[in-house]
Amino acid sequence: MTALDELEIRVWRGAADGHYQVFRAPRRANQTVLDVVSWIQREADPSLSYRFACRVGVCGSCAMTVNGKPRWTCRTHITKVAKDGRLTIAPLRNLPVIRDLACDMAPFFEKWRRARGRFEAAISRDDPLVPISPDSLERRAADAAVECINCAVCHAACDVVGWRPDYLGPAALNRAWVAWNDLRDRDRSAVLRAANAGAGCGNCHSHQSCAEHCPVEINPTRSIAGLKRAGLLALLRGSL
């Protein structure tokens, strides 16, 4: 048992072949998991590696595995995840571990590139703006998916990514869904082709682990279902 005013934290140390190290930290009111990790680095072991920036749930850099689940640590309160005072903190799943709690995010963003999850303008800044109605189907679909903070929590929660590391995964495909619904893009069919390629949306099992864990309540499963539907329609129309 841990004392009521103390937390017992197992923290992953080293790279993929590392181990857990146990720390004890004071328990405080209004404490987040990131606060605890920061306390360990400042007070117990300055060599602990981890990542954060905004501390308010905007930048998406602080995600870790907390008691087995991927979470944004800056907005995860200790009272929510460690009622018995025990925490196990590990790096995110499905990405190479650099050291301790820091993952290499390069493969994650490489997938965004492969899914063509970016905007390419059809017009230049000198052309007049094309009006897009806030009520249009495309605009509403993009709105529901656009607020992603690139935290890779969904990517860590997805078993298919774990089995097939080349699968584009929920975040990149969710971003491709935004690009596909952006009527200002100069080549939307390129987005559809990229998202429907061999390692793309057809591999999703729709089991919604991504949507369950996304901290900003985006539903990548729904976006991926939209890409599957659009891909099928395009194939049947001969425009894929």
């Binding site: 089995w163 097939r164 061999g198 057809g202 591999n203 099928l232 395009a234 049947l236 894929l240």
Partner: protein, 112 residues
């Protein structure tokens, strides 16, 4: 999985759903009414209807099963996509050959 495979998987599932139900119905009917092997063969031999029904069944099973198997080997076997496709093709051809051989035996009456 490419969109083509995705579509083929769904289409064959759509075809198989009613065929499986009819197939189960046929089994239950044959067992409950105590039909002997000769009586069954008497009804299926020379029947174009049963040949088409079970021929279609065998083709859909070969395609559907092989596409599913390809996904399983990709996800759980860690094979490269090209190799997984080759294994899936082999499975499809074996399933198709076994299936059509069975259909031939009960409908054409060949002594296979």
């Amino acid at each position: 999985m490419s969109v083509r495979l995705f579509l083929a998987q769904r289409l064959t599932a759509l075809i198989l759903a009613p065929l499986v139900l009819v197939h189960l119905g046929v089994i239950i009917y044959a067992v409950r009414s105590g039909l002997s092997a000769e009586e069954i063969l008497g009804r299926t031999r020379g029947s174009l209807g049963w040949a088409l029904f079970y021929g279609g069944f065998a083709v859909a099973v070969a395609a559907h099963g092989a596409i599913g198997l390809r996904t399983v080997i990709l996800e759980w076997g860690g094979l490269r996509p090209g190799l997984a496709t080759a294994v899936a093709w082999a499975a499809a051809l074996i399933l198709l050959a076994l299936g059509l051989r069975g259909v031939w035996a009960v409908t054409a009456g060949g002594g296979l």
